[in-house]
């Protein structure tokens, strides 16, 4: 992230004349600026605080609405409950499966598609690119897609959650851009040594592509992990419901209907504190991966959206 610090008026000023005194206006602005961002940080974290407090609070305090930023009647029974709940664990398993398989296959497909398209010598390249890019601008819509899946017998299966998503043109373009940026000399010298295209891709290009693979891999992984829409429309089998869908049904059913049958009354937990624990537990995987996301996402965005 260090190159993000270079280009800014204040840095140029500091560089051009070290030790410059800040005017009153600049000082005021700095104070305002720092305050603003402290507030912005707080606003970002705020929605979590209450939820965290509730998840650790006793049922009666939550129902009475007494819980603010700190837990009242500290307990962690709700977490134990959720982590032992078969439905939750199953949903978690499905999400993990979906994310791992989906990401691996998607990365594979987008990469092998991007590679030929990154070669200017490919005949038919322009029409092919048009074919791919057109799908980013126009689509058949929800109903025709759903009907297609029905006809293919994919409804209520796991593959339906990753197959259509595998051909992601945006990500493919990012990878293609990256490949185009690699020096031609590498490939040429390999060809002189008699290497075929597969070999070149596997042995030379891929090892050099770890940054973009990591970035796009993370793009896919986050998308699969967070998806609820695809599973909502295609999955009715409870055993196949991924985590986000499970969560959604948890609090949609709590705001309207009543306690789900599998809630252990003896634990005395309210839908609210179980909800809170479930939501927070679902956030944990993202938090764990976050440091990696940070590192690669910003780079990826740079390559992707700025270069178009």
């Amino acid at each position: 992230m260090s190159n993000l610090e270079q280009a800014s008026p204040s840095n140029a000023a500091a560089g051009a004349s070290a030790g410059i005194r800040m005017s009153v206006g600049e000082k005021l602005f700095a104070v305002f600026n720092y305050t603003f961002f402290i507030l912005m940080g707080i606003i970002t974290i705020l929605p979590f605080l209450n939820l965290i407090a509730k998840s650790f609070s006793s049922e009666e305090a939550v129902i009475a609405g007494r819980v603010g930023l700190l837990p009242i009647g500290f307990q962690w029974g709700t977490y134990q409950y959720v982590l032992q709940d078969n439905m939750f664990l199953n949903a978690l398993k499905i999400s993990v499966l979906l994310t791992v398989i989906g990401t691996a296959l998607s990365l594979l497909l987008t990469t092998i598609t991007a590679y030929p398209l990154s070669k200017p010598r490919l005949r038919g390249r322009k029409p092919l690119l048009l074919l791919f890019i057109f799908t980013m601008l126009f689509s058949g819509g929800l109903i025709p897609t759903y009907l297609l899946m029905q006809n293919l017998g994919l409804v209520n299966t796991l593959p339906v959650l990753f197959l259509p998503a595998m051909v992601n043109v945006f990500n493919m373009l990012i990878i293609k851009n990256y490949f185009e940026g690699l020096p031609d000399a590498l490939e040429e010298s390999a060809k002189l040594d008699g290497a075929g295209n597969f070999r070149i891709l596997l042995m030379i290009i891929l090892p050099l592509s770890t940054p973009v693979m990591a970035t796009i891999g993370l793009f896919f992984a986050v998308a699969f992990w967070n998806d609820y829409f695809a599973s909502m429309i295609y999955i009715t089998n409870p055993a196949l419901k991924p985590l986000q869908l499970y969560l959604k049904e948890l609090f949609v059913s709590s705001t309207g209907d009543f306690l789900k049958d599998n809630i252990d009354a003896a634990l005395n937990t309210t839908p609210q504190s179980i909800q809170a624990s479930s939501i927070l537990l679902a956030t944990v995987p993202i938090l764990l991966v976050y440091p990696f996301l940070q590192k690669y996402f910003v780079k990826g965005v740079l390559v992707g959206s700025v270069k178009g």
Binding site: P9, A12, L46, P47, R66, L131, Y146, F198, Q244, V306
Partner: protein, 318 residues
């Protein structure tokens, strides 16, 4: 790539192209082979539904299938343009989308500019880390967070209101407030991320431009106007065109998980309507017509937007 041996006068014939194509495929068959899965997937999952759009012109019947359902021409489109329900949906879509654009599009740019001025790197990096976390959360989680935050049953916001002596607000059941909830939660989720994107764009600006401006005595504000903004103009234009082209997509995934029948009147948008009426009520043909309406308009907007931008701003998406 060696030119094919050519003893004939140069022809731009299709026959010649095809021949050269086949020769190329023969020579580098492994390259073309790599493309096959991608193309197949594309044709199957993206282009087949496009064909399926024809049911917008038919009275689709599950048993008759695509081909045998009776043709009704523009019947569904007529319904679309005269239906009062759809009028509400269209209105909501445009209003919510416009509100989001007007409020949430400039915000990250401004914030990125401010963020750029922070000198304490540790602080700057910490802020960045915090503010773009919500981008990685699913809408289900974000909805859960906001439903809790805004609840009338001990939610923080209402607690604050009552402690100030004000009345509680039922955010998710109040037609006059619900759209604000949608926009605020969308802002909470995405502003941090967009800010980072613009911040990254700033780093692409040549630092010597700033120094030259400073040499010429430009104040911070002038530097902003003459160096920074022109520097990020391409990416702003790009983002804006894409966002405008997408105006009929007002946040379906978000709204689906946050809305309820009480607030349909102000928050039902094209995406949610198609979902509910299409998959819910199985009104397949009509909602496909709605979907087609949206797709055609979005496509047109992006194309027009790009042409206009190329003509007047000398830059476009392609």
């Amino acid at each position: 790539m060696e030119p094919a041996p050519n003893t004939m006068p140069r022809k731009r014939s299709k026959g010649g192209y095809l021949l050269r194509l086949l020769l190329d495929i023969r020579r580098e068959w492994d390259l073309y082979l790599l493309l096959v899965p991608g193309i197949l997937f594309l044709l199957l999952f993206k282009y087949t539904p496009m064909y399926g759009i024809i049911i917008a012109f038919k009275d689709f019947n599950i048993f008759a299938g695509f081909a045998d359902s009776p043709w009704v021409g523009g019947k569904h489109f007529a319904k679309l343009f005269t239906s009062p329900d759809f009028a509400i949906v269209l209105r909501n879509t445009i209003i919510i989308s416009l509100l989001k654009i007007v409020i949430l599009f400039p915000l990250p740019i401004i914030i990125a500019l401010m963020l750029n001025e922070l000198r304490k790197m540790v602080f700057k990096r910490t802020v960045q880390t915090i503010i773009y976390l919500p981008h990685f959360l699913s809408w289900v989680i974000v909805a859960g967070l906001f439903i809790d935050l805004l609840s009338t049953d001990g939610g923080l916001v209402n607690k604050l209101l009552t402690s100030l002596g004000l009345q509680q607000i039922s955010f998710f059941l109040d037609n006059s407030v619900f759209r604000s909830v949608l926009i605020t939660s969308a802002g909470w989720k995405e502003t941090g991320w967009s800010t980072i994107v613009y911040l990254a764009a700033f780093s692409m600006i040549d630092p010597s431009l700033y120094e030259a401006a400073k040499m010429d005595g430009a104040s911070k504000l002038r530097q902003l106007w003459h160096v920074t903004l022109p520097g990020i103009a391409p990416i702003i234009v790009l983002m804006f065109i894409l966002r405008l082209g997408n105006i009929l997509e007002a946040g379906t995934e978000q709204i689906l998980v946050m809305y309820n029948p009480v607030v349909y009147k102000v928050s039902d948008v094209i995406g949610t309507y198609v979902y509910r009426m299409g998959l819910g009520n199985q009104d397949y043909s009509f909602t496909t017509a709605v979907g087609m309406f949206e797709a055609v308009i979005s496509f047109t907007l992006v194309i027009v937007g790009n042409s206009l931008s190329r003509k007047y701003l000398q830059r476009g998406i392609w």
